[in-house]
């Protein structure tokens, strides 16, 4: 990373790392943990949807796969670190098996094909594991929110760093080239399909890791819960609203989404989805760059005004 970016990134991670020493409330810790999870999901989606231009509505399938693999391994006695890695790998393998055929679909078929996959996965897992998976008393005895908090923070930092690194590498140029004009990229000698597969597999690996963290955090949940379609819709909404194809966009969008859902959670169930869906439509129509482009515009206007004032 370049000097300034890596410095602010390190400061942010450090701040979040010392946060539990200041904030003791269990509620706040869980809230930040969810935030890290949202960042993982949205940023990994962004690699595929934002930088490569392959809008996937099937992210939940990979998130859920990571959760199932990690949960089953972990509760059968495997330590958490290898279980998490296995979860990520499981999601990447699923991506290789079912996602690669999907990438052969043209433009608008890819979102629908991946949505179909997500629904197949959700229904199948719901039927295979009809009872919720709860932790046994031995696991509950040494459950601590703090350790989950740090694992999630680590996951989020890793995701942001990996996506940043890929995007700023030679591969990143190829991905953006595919997004902007696939035929032209191919004509320039970019092996477009290979790069799309790379983006899909890294994206699935990261979100599978996120799914593992979800499984590590939840005490009791239905196995199909992380497969629910809302986990596919979440990264699409947050990334678009934050700023598609920027590193800061999903981080910003996830914060807005979580904040809004917390504000409305007390009053009525689904209001935040209404607000977000409406904003999403407006963003697609009028502000393709999302919040990030708004902030750049505002900065541009303010510097102009400042210059005018200072002469």
């Amino acid at each position: 990373m370049k000097g300034k970016t890596s410095f602010s990134f390190a400061v942010a991670v450090l701040l979040f790392a010392v946060l539990p020493a200041v904030i003791r409330s269990e509620y706040m810790l869980n809230l930040f943990l969810m935030y890290f999870l949202y960042v993982i999901i949205a940023q990994s989606w962004n690699l595929l949807g934002g930088f490569t231009g392959q809008v996937s509505l099937g992210h939940s399938a990979f998130f859920g796969t990571g959760a199932v693999v990690t949960r089953l391994l972990w509760t059968s006695g495997v330590p958490i670190a290898p279980s998490l890695i296995a979860g990520g790998l499981g999601a990447a393998i699923l991506a290789a098996i079912v996602g690669i055929p999907c990438l052969r679909m043209r433009s608008a078929y890819f979102p629908i094909g991946t949505l179909a996959l997500a629904m197949i996965a959700q229904i199948t897992v719901g039927n295979l594991f009809p009872v919720p998976g709860s932790l046994s008393s031995a696991y509950l005895a040494d459950y601590s929110t703090l350790s989950r908090y740090y694992v999630a923070l680590l996951g989020a930092a890793l995701t942001v760093a990996v996506v940043y690194w890929i995007v700023h590498s030679r591969a990143g140029l190829a991905l953006v080239g595919i997004r902007d004009d696939e035929a032209a990229a191919e004509a320039m000698g970019v092996r477009t399909f290979r790069y799309k597969v790379l983006a899909l597999m890294v994206s699935s690996l990261l979100v599978g890791l996120g799914g593992g963290i979800f499984a590590y955090h939840q005490v009791s949940y239905y196995y199909y819960a992380p497969f629910e379609l809302s986990w596919s819709f979440l990264p699409t909404l947050t990334t678009f609203i934050g700023g598609l194809g920027t590193i800061a966009g999903p981080i910003l969008g996830a914060a807005c989404f979580l904040g809004l859902s917390e504000v409305f959670a007390i009053s009525l169930g689904e209001v935040h989805i209404v607000v977000f869906a409406f904003t999403f439509v407006l963003v697609v129509l009028f502000v393709p760059g999302g919040l990030m482009s708004v902030s750049t515009k505002v900065r541009g206007v303010t510097t102009k005004v400042m210059r005018r004032i200072t002469g």
Binding site: M105, R106, Y109, P111, V271, A277, L285
Partner: protein, 259 residues
Amino acid sequence: MRYLNLAQGSLIILGAYGTLFLFHLDVDPFASLPAIGFALFLLGAALFKASFGRLITFPEPGRIKNSLLISFGLMLLIDSLATLLWTGDERSITPGYSGWTFEAFGFRFPLIGCVGVLSALVVIAALHLFLAKTYFGKSITAVSQDHEAASLMGVNVSFTCLVSFAISVGLASVPAVLIGLKSFSPTVGILWFNKGIVVVMLSGIGNIYGVFPAGLFLGVMEAISVYLFGAPYREVTGLVVFVLVMVLFPKGLFKRQEL
């Protein structure tokens, strides 16, 4: 017309709620069809004016993708608004004849199912006559084939797009009434959209005549899968068929226009 409306299923469910509302005012579901159809037609026109219509200036691939994204947002919006307004409870419209059956050729047929088949045939026939015989229908075909050329020939492209989109939403009133007579809730819209897209994929986009056999094929596949694997996997069948067709026959089973 090269717009992909992911919210079609949600609009159907919206129509079903409208039918239910009229039913509580003692209007027969089938009698309310014209009113629901007209209301949905207007809603479709308004939606097009407010959102999809702005995409006309977009280049072709971007237009489909953006219409997909917009309708994705609309789908979430309509579904969660419906949940807020009418709760997530499962509803059903139950007029006196909802359970009626009649006997013919030694089989018993449910009345509403037969009306469904008939109405599908009527809609397909009407759509065919409209597209093939009327001047406006021909201009719709022209715009979907090449909107620039159509525009040069004096077709009002944006108006044609508007009306064809509104018709597509208005026609959602037919499944709305039929689904209303079965059962529905705010979240099932996407399941019905799925069935729609699977059938369209099988028959080929832009081919209205293949829709009936394709629909029949999907129905038979679902029935067989329920027999083989059990009812929970009913929805999976159509989706698996869809993914397989997309992967094995990227150009479609029958003739399909390029998207």
